[in-house]
Symmetry: D2
C-alpha cells in the first residue's frame, strides 16, 4: 500500500519527540510534516529543538533523533494546510488541544494523547486489544458533529497498565472492586518544568493533581460497553491513590482486586499470560509479542529492569497472590511504560488498528 | 529517683547506635554498659566502630556520636554480668536474639527490637498509647517461664505507623478490612549490606521478604485484646503489599480502610488528631506532643519533610478521603520514621511507660 | 544593647526563608519587617507562602518556619519606608537587586546575597575571618556615591568554601595556581524551577552557566588586598570546572594547589586546623567553633555526613595529600554548605562583624 | 575463517555476564564454554544465575541474557580442560586471577579484566588504537616464562577514558602534567556488595581505595613506549582524585592538562575528532565509529545521555577550554562507559585486534 502521510502537531515537545521516534522507519506511516507553535515554525527541526540561550539540544528521549527528520522545516500549526495529510498525531497540551483538535477533525482523523476530548460521550479512549469495539464512536462523531475526520484519544498513562491487567480478569471472573496505589515515574509530569529535583530527591510525593479522578473515570469508560451510540461505563468500583517516586520511566502499581467469581493464583496467571485481545490475528507492526508478561520471580516487576520489555509495549505483572482481606481477593503489582505504551507508541498502535479496520 | 542503669547489647550496629543516641542525656536512664560480639569487646567504643582496613568511623546516624560514650570499653555480650543492671535494650539480629534474650530475661527485663519473641503467645508487642494493657503478659511470662526479668518487643517498623493510624478508627468506627501498600525506606534493610545501590537507584523493588506477613500478623496482635493470659488478635482483615523505594528514612503507606460504621473525612481527621492513647497524662520524656499529626495539604506527608516531626516519634497522616470502592471506605497516606519511633526511640518510650507502671 | 532592626527583602523566596531562620531568636537582630513583591504584599507571611492553586505551603527549609513570623504582614518592597530600619538583608534575584539595593543603600546598610554589586570596585565581597579589612570599601562607597547606607555582598556559594581553604595556605606558603572541580548540590540552583528532576536523576551535568567565571573572579578579589580605595586582586592563577551532581545540599570541591613554598601534608593540616581568621576574639553569635574542620578519615568529607557540621558554617576538608604533578603540589577535597555559610547564615555572620566594628 | 572458540571464566559474575553479551552473535568468536567456581558448576547457566533462597535471576545487565547460553552447563574452572579452546576471557576477581590466569597462560591466551598482572613488566595493558605496539610483550612473556599462551590485560575503567583523551594530545602537542578529578559510577564497584545504597543516596564519596594509584600508574604505562622487552612509562606527571557519585554507569572525569606546545581549543577539538589510532583500517567488529566524540554543547557529556554512544565504546568529550592556570593549559570533561569499553566489550575489541595481528 502507499505510505500513509501523517503530521505530528506539537512535534518539538516531549511527546512529539516520542512520536518522531515511534514513526521513524515505520512500515506503514510516513512523517510528511512536523508542526509546532509560532516560536518554532520556519526553523528546521534540529534548530527548533535548540535552547535559545545555550544552543543546547532540547531532545529528551533515550534514542537520538533520527537523521531523516533533522532538516524538516517545522510548520506553524495555526496556518497548516491539512489537505494532503491522511492522519494527525496530536501531542499538544490539553488547553491547546481542545480547539485545535476539533478544528482539524472537521477534515482529518486525529489521534491525541491529550485529555481534552477523553471524557466526551462520542469520543473513544482506545486501548489496543481491550476495547477496539469503541471505535464505533467514530461513526457517531461524524454523524452528530458533521466531521469528515474524527478524534480518538489515548488514556492517561497510569490508567493504561491498570486496564490491561484488569481486562482478562473482567472477562474471566468479573470485577467487583479495584483498589490501586501507583508509584509513578517523573517523566509522567513532563518537562515544563515537570518535577523539580529538590522536591523528589530522596522523597515520595503523595499527590498528583487530577490523576486519581482520571484513572478512576477512564478505567470504567475503557472497560465499558458500546451501546446506543455511547459507552456505558463498566460497573465495578475503582479507587486509587497516586504517588510520585524518584524513578525516570515506568509506572508501578500495587493493585488489590475483588472479583465476582473465585479465582486461584494459577488461574489469574494463566488468563493474564493468555490474554492477547485479538491482536494476535491483526499483525500490527507496533504490537508487543505479549500484551501482559507475568513474572514468577517475586522481585519483579521493577521499573528499571522491566519497563523496556517488548519495546515498552507490554504490561509486566508480578507478585500475584490471593488477598485475604477482600472477597474473592487477588493482589498483584504491575509495571507499564508511561512514555511508550502510555503515550506515542501506544497511539501509533491505535493508528495501526484503525488502518486495519479501514477507518483510515 | 536514682538513674535506671541500662545495657545496650548489639551496641555497635545500626540500631545499637540509635539506642546510644536515644539514651544520651536521658532524664531517667543511664548507659551503664555497651555490649557487643567478641570482635568488638575489649575496645573502647570509638575504636570498636572503626573499620579495620581504613580506620573510617562506621557511625550511621545523622547526629554525631555523643562524646560521653566514645571511651566506654565495649564488653563481650556472652560473658556479661548483668547483676548490676536494671534494664537491657537488645539491638541484636534475630538469630542471636532468640537464645540471648531468653538467657538475659531469666534475670533482667529486656526490651527488644528483634522479631524473635514477637510471635510468642506470652510476649507482648508494645506500642505506646495503643496497647499498654498487653504489658500484663509480663506477669504471664514470669509465671510460666519462671523468669525474674521479661521480654517485651517492638513491632516491625512498617506495622507501627499503620497501627497508630488504625487505633482511633478501630475505637471510634470499628474496622472491617485494611489494604495497605508500603513505600519503604532503604534504612529499614539495615547495612549488612542492606539495599545495594545498583538495585534501588532509579527503581522500585516490589518485594521485601517476610515483611507482609509481619505487618499483617503484628497489626492484628497489637490491636488485639488481652484475655486469659494471652492476646486475642483483632478480628478485621489486613492485606499488604510492601515495596522498597529510594528514600533514606521514613516509610510511606497508602491505606484503604473499610470501617464498621460510616464516618466522614472530618470525623476521621478529628479522631486522629485527638488521639493520645492516654499518653498525655503519663508525662513520658520521649513521647511526642501528638501521636498523630494530620495534614490538610494534599502534598503531605512526604518522607523528607515530615519524618522528623516531633523527633521522628509522630505518625504523620494526609490525604484523608472517602473511598468509593469499599463499604464505609476511607483512604489516606501515612508516614512513620522507621528508625525513630519504629526502632530505638520507640523502645525507649516503651521503657519509660514500664517505669511509670512500675514494671521496672 | 537595643535590638538591631532588620528587614528581609525577598522574604518569601528560598534565600529569604533561610534569612528568616537565621534571624529567628538572634541575640542581636530582630526582624522588624518582611518585604516581597506586590504579589505577596498585604498577606500575612504564612498566607504569602501558600501556593495559590493547592494551598500547599511553599516552605523549602529543613527546619519549619518559626511561629513568630507566620502572622507578620508582608510589605511591598517598592513602597517600603526604611526610616525605622537599621539594616536590610537582601535575598532578591540579581535583576531586581541592582536598582533596588542601590536605592536602599542611599539611606540604609544592605547585605546582599545577589551578585549584582559583587564586581563593583567599591563594593566588598566579605568573607568572615578572611577579608574583613575589605570593609573599608564602605567608606569609599559613601564618599564617592554619597550614600548614607552601603552595599556589602556575599560571595558565590561555590567560591566561599574554596576561599576558606585557600586563605591559610596563602598566608603560610603563598599560592601559585589553583585548579578546582566542583560537584555542586541542586539547591544551589534555587527553585524557579532550579534543576529539573529528569535532568539530574542518575546523572551529572558538567556545566553551570556563569559559575566558573564567578568562582575565579571572586576568589581573587576576596583574597586580594585593599589599597588606594579599591581591591587589588590576589595574583595567583585559578581555574575551575563546575558540575552539578544529585545531592541536595553541600558543594564538594576537588582542589589541586601549587604553593609558593614547599609544604607537607602535616603542615597543611595544621595551618588549616589552626585557622580562625581573628574570629575567635570577636565572639560573634553565628561564628562556627572552627572555620575549617579537617578529617583524617579518607572517606570524608561527604555532603550528607558533613554539611551540617557547626550548623553548616564550617568548611570541612579531607584527603589532604601532596600532589606529584604540580610544583609544591597539594591536593584535597572540601565541602561547604551552600545554603548556610554560602548564603543567609553567612550574611548574618557578616552583619555581626559589621556591628562589632561599628559599621552598624 | 573458523569461529574462534572462547571460554569465559567467572561467567556468572557481573563482568562475566557482560562478556556473555559482548560475545553473543559475535562474527568471529563463539562461546564454547562457561566456567565458574564449584558453587555454580554442573548447573545450566540459567540455574547458576538464580539466587538460592528466592529463585530470583541474578542477571545485572540492561539487555536480557541471550537464549542461546541459558542451557549451557557451567563447568568448574579448576578442573577445566582447555585443550579445545582458542582464547580465554577472564572475568574473575584479582585474588583468584593471579594463580588461575598464570596457569591457563601456560597453554592458552588469556585476556583479563582483573588487575593481577597489569603491573608486571612483561604484561601489556592494551588499549585499542592507543598502544597496540605493546602487544610485543607477548613474545617476551613466552620467551621468559615459557608460556605457550599469554596474558594480556584491560586497564582500570577510570584510566581508559583518560588515556583515550590524552593520546591525541600527547601525539600532537606533548604532555607535561595532567590533573584529573573523577565522578565515578556505582557499577564500577561491582555487586559484592559494591556500593551500599545508604552510603551514596544524595551523597558523594570522595575516596575509592587504590583507584588513584591505578589511574596514575596505568596511564603512564599505557602511554609509554615499548623498548628492550619492556615498557618505559610516559614521562609527564599525572595526579588524580577519584570520587563516587550516584550514577549507574559512566565515569565522568574533569581533566586539566598542561601540554608541551601551545594549542588552541580548535586544535584540541580537531585532533580529538580526527583520532582513530589506526583502527579505521583494521575493520574490527567491536570498534566504535569514532574513538572520541567531541561535543560543542557545553551541557555535554552527561552520563545518562552519552554513555551509550557507539555502543558504549566511544570516549565522549566536551567543554574543551583553555586553562588560565597552567602553562599551555587545556581543560575538558570526558565520559567513558565503565562496563562497556572499560570492561568486557573493550576486552573483546582487544581480542579482535590480536586476531588481526595473528597473535591468535
Amino acid at each position: 500500500m502507499d505510505p500513509i502521510k501523517t503530521v505530528i502537531v506539537g512535534a518539538t515537545g516531549v511527546v512529539g519527540q516520542q512520536f518522531v521516534l515511534a514513526l521513524n522507519d515505520h512500515p506503514w506511516f510516513t512523517i510528511s510534516c512536523l508542526a509546532a507553535s509560532k516560536r518554532s515554525s520556519g526553523k528546521i527541526y534540529s534548530e527548533a529543538l535548540k535552547d535559545d540561550e545555550t544552543g543546547s539540544l532540547r531532545w529528551f528521549c533515550d534514542e537520538p533523533p533520527p537523521e531523516s527528520v533533522l532538516d524538516i522545516v517545522v510548520e506553524d500549526v495555526d496556518s497548516l494546510n491539512f489537505s494532503d495529510v491522511d492522519l494527525v498525531f496530536s501531542a499538544v497540551g490539553s488547553k491547546v488541544a481542545r480547539p485545535l483538535e476539533g478544528m482539524i477533525a472537521e477534515k482529518k482523523p486525529v489521534i491525541s494523547t491529550a485529555r481534552s476530548y477523553r471524557y466526551n460521550k462520542d469520543v473513544p479512549i482506545l486501548v489496543p486489544g481491550v476495547n477496539f469495539g469503541h471505535a464505533k464512536l467514530i461513526d457517531v462523531q461524524r454523524k452528530t458533529r458533521g466531521w469528515k475526520g474524527f478524534v480518538v484519544t489515548q488514556p492517561n498513562c497510569t490508567a493504561i497498565g491498570l486496564v490491561y491487567s484488569l481486562k482478562p480478569l473482567l472477562d474471566c471472573f468479573g470485577l467487583e472492586r479495584v483498589l490501586m496505589t501507583s508509584l509513578q515515574a517523573i517523566s509522567g509530569a513532563g518537562r515544563s518544568p515537570g518535577v523539580i529535583a529538590l522536591d523528589i530527591l530522596e522523597n515520595v510525593i503523595p499527590y498528583i493533581p487530577g490523576e486519581e479522578e482520571a484513572v478512576e473515570t477512564e478505567t470504567l469508560k475503557i472497560l465499558g460497553r458500546y451501546q446506543f451510540g455511547t459507552i456505558a461505563p463498566a460497573e465495578f468500583h475503582v479507587s486509587s491513590t497516586c504517588t510520585r517516586v524518584n524513578v525516570r520511566d515506568g509506572h508501578t502499581e500495587s493493585v488489590f482486586v475483588s472479583t465476582s467469581k473465585p479465582c486461584t493464583v494459577e488461574e489469574v496467571t494463566e488468563v493474564m499470560r493468555a490474554f492477547d485481545g485479538g491482536l494476535g490475528d491483526l499483525d500490527l507492526p507496533s504490537a508487543p509479542k505479549h500484551l501482559i508478561v507475568v513474572h514468577d520471580d517475586p522481585y519483579r516487576p521493577q521499573p528499571r529492569l522491566d519497563r523496556n520489555v517488548d519495546g515498552g509495549m507490554a504490561t509486566v505483572v508480578g507478585r500475584i497472590r490471593n488477598d485475604p482481606a477482600l472477597s474473592n481477593g487477588v493482589k498483584y503489582v504491575l509495571l507499564s511504560h508511561n512514555t511508550k505504551m502510555g503515550a506515542a507508541k501506544g497511539a501509533v498502535l491505535v493508528a495501526e488498528y484503525l488502518v486495519k479496520e479501514e477507518y483510515l
